[in-house]
Structure formats: structure tokens, C-alpha cells
């Protein structure tokens, strides 16, 4: 039994790895796109963290501790970068490969199954998102925004965010009919970025709005990364992680099912 399971896991790894290889070969000529993605989040950090941060100075958190506004906002922008990196990759790029370039139609005739495709795309998105996260964390460190050893854990925390949004992005890619749908996605994403606890603690919002924020996947990502980068771990983080993982697995499952249905006619 375990031998079979091991064999299947190995086959899945190899197959999804083959798709990863495909994306790598296809993208290595377009590395400029990867760099531009990293630059974007750094610009956000400079604009909000240092621009607005200089005006606001220190803020007091609901639990009474005081932190500089830049240190408060930077982890949220990091969480946002972790989201955007994979969301762009899994939604728009996968949609283009799926509906326009028909890349999966050719792959369909090989031993790869929809699961392998979904998993391969998630690996790829994680790697691409990971480069943004890495660059961002290095810059945070250079500006002295990482105060405690806990903050190193912000990096793996970002991986949970990436996983969650990779699942969501893949599902959206299979649901979307045409480009206008992406405008809706971007609107929702921007709303999450603005109101998901990025710029102010959630407790500052009116009571009726707070439950809406708690449902936002990005909120859970921000809480996780901020708590760690400020060196304030707490039990609620387990809820954040569980929520993000559930989104990840659920999203991938729906995506591979829809991919299979669309391709195996």
C-alpha cells in the first residue's frame, strides 16, 4: 500500500515537475516580467511605508503596543505581494494558456492528468511569487523593519498566502469566460488590499464591516505575516493558516476538476 502511494506520489511529482519545466523554458526569455512584478511591490513600500509613514509616525495597536507605521504597513504590503505574484500567474496566465494558447490541449495527450497540470502551475506560481517575497524581505531587512527572529518566519508565512491564492487563481482561470472578468477580479483584489487590514488595524473599522474583513483571504495572510514580522505570535495564527490551506486545497481541487471536464470532452 505505502509502496503504491509512494510510486503515485513520485509519478505526480515527476509529472507536475514536467509542467514546471515547460513554464521555465517558456518564461526564461521573458524574465523582465518577473523583475517588474518585484519592483511594483517595492514601489508600494516606498510610497506608503516611507511616504505616509513619515507623516504618521508611530501608531498604537489594539493590544497597546506601539510600532512605527512603516513597520506596521510593510508586512501587509509583503502579504499583498505574495498574493499578487501567484494570483497573476495562476489566473491570467493560466487562463491564457488554457483558453487562448491551448497549451493544455497538447499536454492532454501525454500521461499528465489535470491534477498534475494544476499542481505544476501551483509550483510554478510559488516559485515566481517566492522571488518577489525574497526580494521584498531583503529590502525590509535592509531598512531595519525586521526586529525579531520571529520575522524570519514571515517568509514561510507568505508561502501559505501564495498557496491559498494559487488555488483561488486556478479556479478563477477555469471559471472566467473572457478578459472583462479579470477586471472584476482586480477590483475585488484591490478592495482587499485597501480594506483587509493593510493600512489600519481591523478594529478601527465600523463593527458591521469587520465580519466582511474576516472572510477576506488576504486579511488572514496579513495577520499572519504582520504578527510574525512584529514578533507577536499568537494562537489565532493557526486559524489563519488553516483558512489559507483550506482555500489552497479546495481551489486546486475545483480547478483540476473543471480543467478535466473542459479538456476531456
Amino acid at each position: 500500500m505505502s509502496v503504491i502511494a509512494y510510486g503515485a506520489a513520485r509519478a505526480t511529482l515527476r509529472s507536475s515537475g514536467a509542467l514546471l519545466n515547460r513554464n521555465w523554458v517558456a518564461m526564461r526569455r521573458a524574465w523582465i516580467l518577473v523583475v517588474s512584478g518585484a519592483v511594483e511591490s517595492l514601489l508600494f513600500l516606498f510610497a506608503f511605508g516611507f511616504g505616509v509613514g513619515a507623516l504618521v509616525g508611530d501608531i498604537t495597536l489594539p493590544d497597546g503596543t506601539t510600532v512605527s507605521y512603516t513597520a506596521f504597513v510593510a508586512p501587509a504590503i509583503l502579504a499583498n505581494a505574495a498574493m499578487m505574484g501567484v494570483l497573476n500567474e495562476t489566473s491570467i496566465n493560466v487562463f491564457a494558456k488554457f483558453k487562448w494558447m491551448k497549451v493544455y490541449d497538447g499536454i492532454l495527450n501525454t500521461p499528465l492528468r489535470p491534477w498534475d497540470v494544476a499542481l505544476g502551475e501551483v509550483w510554478w506560481a510559488l516559485i515566481r511569487g517566492g522571488t518577489y517575497i525574497g526580494a521584498f524581505v531583503v529590502v525590509m531587512g535592509l531598512f531595519g523593519l525586521l526586529d525579531s527572529w520571529w520575522s524570519l518566519l514571515a517568509v514561510p508565512a507568505c508561502v501559505f498566502i501564495s498557496l491559498a491564492f494559487a488555488g483561488i487563481g486556478l479556479t478563477l482561470a477555469t471559471l472566467f469566460r473572457d478578459w472583462p472578468d479579470f477586471d472584476w477580479m482586480m477590483a475585488v483584489v484591490f478592495a482587499m488590499f485597501l480594506f483587509g487590514g493593510t493600512f489600519t488595524p481591523v478594529e478601527a473599522y465600523p463593527a458591521f464591516a469587520q465580519p466582511i474583513v474576516y472572510v477576506m483571504p488576504l486579511y488572514h495572510g496579513i495577520e499572519l505575516v504582520r504578527g510574525l514580522s512584529l514578533g507577536q505570535p499568537g494562537p489565532m495564527m493557526l486559524v489563519n493558516i488553516a483558512y489559507l490551506l483550506a482555500l489552497s486545497v479546495g481551489g486546486m481541487w475545483i480547478a483540476q476538476r473543471r480543467l478535466g471536464k473542459a479538456l476531456y470532452k
Partner: protein, 317 residues
């Protein structure tokens, strides 16, 4: 050593429906190792759907299907690992170069990078595209893209190569290049399964074929057998100036007896006969003088016409 009589594909009462539309309505066939097997039929006859089921990318609605003795429903990935598929629309990867298309595809089959590169170079040579290795696939002509798709289908040394309409949409010269490569494959003993609506393609390439119409198989055998069974040896084509459908149908009535069978078409009348000279003499005796008379050998096109009452390539004729 593979057994020459080994069955690669076995289908019985195979069916496929899309909603209310029944694309394949119960077909039976067997494909043996080493043979070139064809599905001949007009567009929409159910050929591609049957190919997709054999290729394990479409689930049969009913009936049984075995590929390499396995069940496509539960062992699709294992079957696909041994198949080479050339889809009608090539499905090449537009983001990759010609060479990368092959190497990347090889990796899907678990072939190691180093082996993949050797194999890719070999196959590019086989389809005469070595000079285009570094080009993007979109820069290739239709015929070159098809040849690349053929090369790609061979990357895993498949036990069976499936080609769906391999020369549809190609100009005559490109068609001949593709045919020539397929002959090479046949010569090497590769088992080939192809669909086509070109009777000359089926006649030249296939050892055995089935004729499909409206989701059913209406005849099966070697090209020679099919011609011998369903039509006479020769065909005389008669044209009567500008005479058209209705006039020709009327004229056909006066021809009874000059051949084994008279078939009026929109632009000509076909007389099926075992001896074209006899038919010519009979026409003369009746003082019937067509504006043009052409005697030729019967082809699969005639078989199809006799069986269905329709031409194979109606829209392109």
C-alpha cells in the same frame, strides 16, 4: 518480441453522446500491431470522436474499449504513455521554439533531459526541420507545423501513432511531404491509426480501413477488398454539356443496362461497369453521345458514394 497478431485496440458497440447528439453510435473494430488502420468518412462522421476515445481524452458513453489490453477509464495515463497523437489542430506550444516543443514534450513522458535532446534532434532530422530548430512554431508554415506535430508524437517511441486528418488544410506539396514521412514510419513497422476524408490518402496509406458515416461503420476491409465488394472494377464518367441534376437524373433512366449500376450526380453520371469498352459500345449502340467520356479504375470515393449516396468531400469538391 512483440506478437504480430497482438491487438492494440479493441472496441465493441462503442458509443459516445454529447447531450442529445449521438456522435458515435455503436462501432466495432480491432487494430493489430504493425498495421496502418484508417477511418474514412466525411466531416462529422464521428471519426475524431472515436480517435479521442482511443486516445483516452474522451470517455465512452457506452460499449467497451480496450487499448493495449487496458481500460481507458481507469488506466488512461498509462495508455497515453504508449501513444503518439497528432491532433487535427496540432496543439503545438506557441510559447516555445521548435526544438523546445519536442524536449519539453518528452519531459511529460518522463524522458530525461539529456535523452530528450538527443531524441528531439533525431526527430527534427526525420521530419526535415533541423534548420528551423530555433524558430518559434508560429513562424512555421502549416505543413511544417504538421510535421513537427508528427515528430512530437514519436518522442516516446509509441506503440501506436494516432493521426487525425493528417493532411487536411495542407497544400498538395506539403501533403506529399507528410505522406512520404508516414510511409517511412510504416516501413519501420510503426503501427498507425489515421482518420481522413481523402480517399487517395486512405487508399495509399492504409492496410485496412473502416468507412464511417453518421456515427456508424458502414464497411470494413482493405482498400482493394472494399472496392471489389462494393463497386465494379471500372467507372465511366459521362458529362452532357451543361445538363444538371434533374436533367441528368432523367438521362440516367435511358442508360439502364449499359453498366452494372447508374449513379446520376449533380454534374455527371457515373456508370459502374466491369468493362469500360463494353459500356462504350452499348452507349454507341443506343446512340447516346455524351460531351465527354472518362473511363477510370474504381476508387474508395466510389465505394463511399455507393454506400452513402454522397460524395466524401462535398464542400471542397
Amino acid at each position: 518480441m512483440p506478437d504480430d497478431n497482438e491487438m492494440l485496440v479493441r472496441a465493441s458497440d462503442l458509443r459516445k453522446s454529447y447531450g442529445d447528439h449521438e456522435a458515435v453510435r455503436g462501432v466495432d473494430f480491432e487494430i493489430r500491431r504493425g498495421e496502418a488502420f484508417g477511418f474514412l468518412g466525411a466531416n462529422g462522421a464521428g471519426k475524431s470522436t472515436t480517435m479521442r476515445m482511443i486516445g483516452c481524452v474522451s470517455q465512452p458513453t457506452a460499449g467497451t474499449l480496450e487499448v493495449f489490453g487496458r481500460d481507458p477509464l481507469t488506466e488512461g495515463a498509462a495508455i497515453r504513455a504508449r501513444l503518439g497523437v497528432v491532433p487535427q489542430d496540432n496543439t503545438l506550444d506557441g510559447m516555445l521554439t521548435v526544438f523546445e516543443n519536442l524536449v519539453v514534450y518528452a519531459r511529460y513522458f518522463g524522458i530525461k533531459k539529456r535523452d530528450a535532446r538527443v531524441k528531439a534532434a533525431e526527430l527534427l532530422d526525420f521530419v526535415q526541420l533541423t534548420a528551423r530548430a530555433k524558430d518559434q512554431v508560429n513562424e512555421l508554415s502549416g505543413g511544417m507545423q504538421r510535421r513537427l506535430a508528427i515528430a512530437r508524437s514519436l518522442i516516446n517511441d509509441p506503440d501506436l501513432v494516432i493521426l487525425d486528418e493528417p493532411t487536411t488544410g495542407l497544400d498538395p506539396q506539403a501533403r506529399h511531404l507528410v505522406w512520404e514521412r508516414l510511409f517511412q514510419l510504416k516501413h519501420r513497422g510503426v503501427s498507425i491509426l489515421l482518420t481522413t476524408h481523402y480517399m487517395d490518402e486512405a487508399e495509399q496509406l492504409c492496410d485496412r480501413l473502416v468507412v464511417m458515416d453518421e456515427g456508424r461503420i458502414i464497411a470494413a476491409g482493405s482498400p482493394r477488398e472494399l472496392i471489389d465488394t462494393h463497386v465494379t472494377k471500372e467507372v465511366v464518367e459521362l458529362r452532357f454539356g451543361a445538363a444538371h441534376t434533374a436533367e441528368l437524373a432523367e438521362l440516367a433512366l435511358t442508360l439502364t443496362g449499359v453498366g452494372a449500376q447508374i449513379e446520376p450526380l449533380p454534374d455527371k453520371i457515373l456508370v459502374y461497369t466491369d468493362d469500360a469498352d463494353d459500356t462504350g459500345a452499348a452507349l454507341e449502340a443506343r446512340e447516346i453521345t455524351p460531351t465527354s467520356t472518362l473511363a477510370r479504375r474504381a476508387t474508395l470515393e466510389d465505394v463511399f458514394l455507393r454506400l452513402t449516396g454522397r460524395a466524401l468531400v462535398e464542400d471542397e469538391a
